[in-house]
Amino acid sequence: MDLDDTPDQGAYRAQVRAWLDQNKHSAPVLQGEGALTDEDEIVAARRAWQGKLAEAGLAGVTWPKEFGGQSLGPIEQVICNQEIARAKVPGILDAIGVGMLGPTIIAHGTDEQKTRYLGPMLHGDEVWCQLFSEPAAGSDLAAVQTRARQQDDGSWRLTGQKVWTTNAQFASYGLLLARTDSDVPKHKGMTMFIVPMDAEGVTVRGLRQISGEAEFNEVFFDDVALEEGAVVGGVGNGWGTALTTLMYERVTIGLGGEGMGYNSTRFAAAIAGDEAARRDPEVRHQLGEIASELLAVRFTGYRTLTALQKGQIPGPEAGLAKVTIVNGAIRAGDLIADVLGPDALDEDSDWAYMISFLPGLKSAGGTEEILRNTIGERVLGLPPEPRLDKGIPFSELRSKEGAAA
């Protein structure tokens, strides 16, 4: 049992660290003195930085060499992430594209799609977004209503709305899950498409959250024309293709660990400066409970890495770590605000943003309730909820829902 690098991993780490030491001066500054403030400048600088990382082999580490990657394993990706964090430089801008959407195209795309899209994605020349969730299809993703209709010439017309779309405001392309057949049960009638975000009929609108910032977007599609070659993974196979993306999402989260900065050391430091708080039994008890669970997640992450190193893919139980992190951070924000008072809620404090961000994060990647359903059924083997949508054509399901309302 150890947390050490093997000799090969150590050599790889040294190589990554050496490159970062030499090149970190050219990384964009996002915090502190001299930080960029203009949104467009930040995006431009981060795209350029992603290009440099890609050329150095520090982006898409697990991608096959033929698509510009390094054909290395997840552990090397983690080493890379750790060294980037250690160098205090930003990682790649398009983590969603490179981490989840690119691997989906590699798994299900045509040769033409791979040749056309993967290189510019990896280098940050074209940023991607994930167009899966809809206002009425989040946890129940297979309920998507965005509709693609095939034309006589084989091309498609797309109409509908997506939501929670990170990076849509500057993305070049999106990977979109649409309904293409409403007369079959809902998991069967879907197809995955590549959508150019500058196509006519695509409208992106920022969605402001509790913090006041717009990290997500709503994206509207009004009779958008798509080429026949925009289909990824075959017509009617959209669900299977989407599951690949979601599997890579779990891997990405598994590799990310405590990347969001929700860790026990940082939370303890916020309290340690207050002499009364550090002697208060209730504050100490709360901190001890929160910190213990967050420490557990760190080691759950190491266990996941060990499994990844052995070629095992994280299952749905990985969602439990997310539940622990989010709820732990919510409790920590609450405790820190109790200790610091209203100043913790000042716009400039370290905590106001976190406190505002977490209620939404609770539902990100599936609500806590749906995660617990999935884990209960797939990990514990408990019987599923009775479902009213099994085997029923999507169109009939929709009319049933209408009648019930």
Binding site: M1, D2, L3, D4, D5, Q9, I75, S264, T265, A268, A269, I271, A272, R278, R279, P281, V283, R284, H285, L287, G288, E289, A291, S292, E293, L295, A296, V297, R298, F299, T300, Y302, R303, L305, T306, A307, Q309, K310, E317, L320, V323, T324, E369, R372, N373, I375, G376, E377, V379, L380, G381, L382, P383, P384, E385, P386
Partner: protein, 375 residues
């Protein structure tokens, strides 16, 4: 990066499970509640045969020289079936004796299991508490450790000592000239009294230990080694608790699959399913912290207090939650004498109050982190 069980560790765990399966430990726990603790099977011969007494003693002294994590695996198996194998007392005692040379003479019979030791739990100073302390017989105030006189005799009182009744050697920490010092006293020594006490959980043999001018072997273990024994005991009871959580979850899940109400298996209801996934979440966190503690003991000794305390804190809460969920999933029958659930519940309530208590460990986690943040 390797945070998985080795083949040898898997074998050790399976062998422990097999050895324990030869005894009806859960049934015995129930019987002992109605009669007395003599109804419990004597598991020490089995433990001796399996080599557990010498787990943490090096080969030079006849032990297996294994790691703390290996011992934790064995305790986890004991916890699964509520087996009262007196390792919680024995293993930290052998760790103290093995960390110096003054206790060498005692080690060989303890390694073979010919003799059995018990550890008198002594909590090292913390961020707010400057003294070494031990559990009080009653109440919240921590108690003073026994005093070691200039003549090498020990005088004092230590309450709720796991596995003390019937132990051949008691190993503890006393205060001599203001500093902690390890000592060992043998059964039958003058002024030594061990009063057997049973509280709520029949599987635990506890003793109130009184020493009155008792002659002792003064040990040369360092203060760090003496402190480490406390955290070792925390890690062991954490591992044992997580084993009990595993059983509580398995039994509750099995019942939730077979029991039907309103035409559905109750496990299909979200209220039941979410409660059981919460047990799994706490179990998984506890397991990860066992790895942390097991790794830190050798891999990063400075973190061992934090790791072992965090493991204790999470596992204590997990066991309480799991035992309550086990009862509620079964409905009324889960709260009756017929069922095993009350035995796990009793285990949970007592375990959480021994060895400084799991909330003491929670406070220790905060203290370690706050002290670290201040420097």
């Amino acid at each position: 990066m390797n945070l998985a069980l080795s083949d040898e560790q898997v074998f050790l765990r399976e062998a422990a499970r097999g050895a324990l399966s030869r005894f009806k430990t859960v049934e015995a726990a129930r019987e002992a509640l109605d009669s007395d603790q003599s109804a419990l099977p004597d598991l020490w011969p089995m433990a001796t045969e399996a080599g557990w007494p010498g787990l943490l003693i090096d080969d030079a002294h006849g032990g297996a020289g294994l790691d703390v994590f290996d011992a934790m695996l064995v305790l986890g198996e004991c916890g699964r079936v509520l087996a009262g194998v007196p390792l919680l007392g024995h293993l930290p005692a052998t760790a103290i004796l093995g960390s110096g040379s003054a206790g060498d003479g005692l080690l060989a019979p303890l390694a073979s299991g010919e003799k059995r030791a018990a550890y008198l739990p002594a909590e090292p100073p913390g961020e707010l508490e400057a003294r070494w302390t031990c559990d009080p017989a009653r109440g919240l105030a921590r108690a003073e450790l026994p005093a070691v006189g200039a003549d090498g005799t020990v005088t004092g009182h230590v309450a709720f000592v796991p596995d003390a009744p019937g132990a051949d050697v008691l190993v503890g920490v006393g205060i001599k000239d203001g500093s902690p010092v390890g000592f060992a006293v043998e059964a039958g020594a003058a002024g030594l009294e061990v009063e057997q006490v049973m509280r709520y959980d029949s599987t635990r043999k506890l003793g109130h230990v009184t020493l009155a001018g008792t002659p002792a072997t003064i040990l040369d273990a360092s203060a760090d080694d003496l402190a480490s024994a406390w955290y070792l005991a925390q890690a062991l009871i954490a591992a044992e608790s997580i084993g009990s959580v595993e059983t509580a979850l398995d039994v509750a899940v099995a019942y939730a699959k077979e029991r039907h109400t309103f035409g559905r298996a109750i496990g299909s209801y979200q209220a039941v399913k979410h409660s059981l996934t919460e047990v799994l979440r706490q179990l998984d966190n506890g397991r990860s912290l066992l790895y942390y503690a097991g790794w830190a003991r050798n891999g990063s000794p400075g973190e061992f207090p934090l790791a072992a305390s965090a493991a204790r804190s999470v596992s204590g809460r997990a066991l309480d939650f799991a035992a309550r969920a086990m009862i509620s999933v079964h409905g009324g029958i889960g709260a009756t004498w017929e069922h095993d659930a009350p035995l796990y519940f009793r285990r949970a309530q007592l375990s959480r109050r021994l060895l400084g208590g799991s909330s003491g460990a929670t406070d220790r986690v905060a203290g370690e982190l706050l002290a670290g943040a201040a420097t």
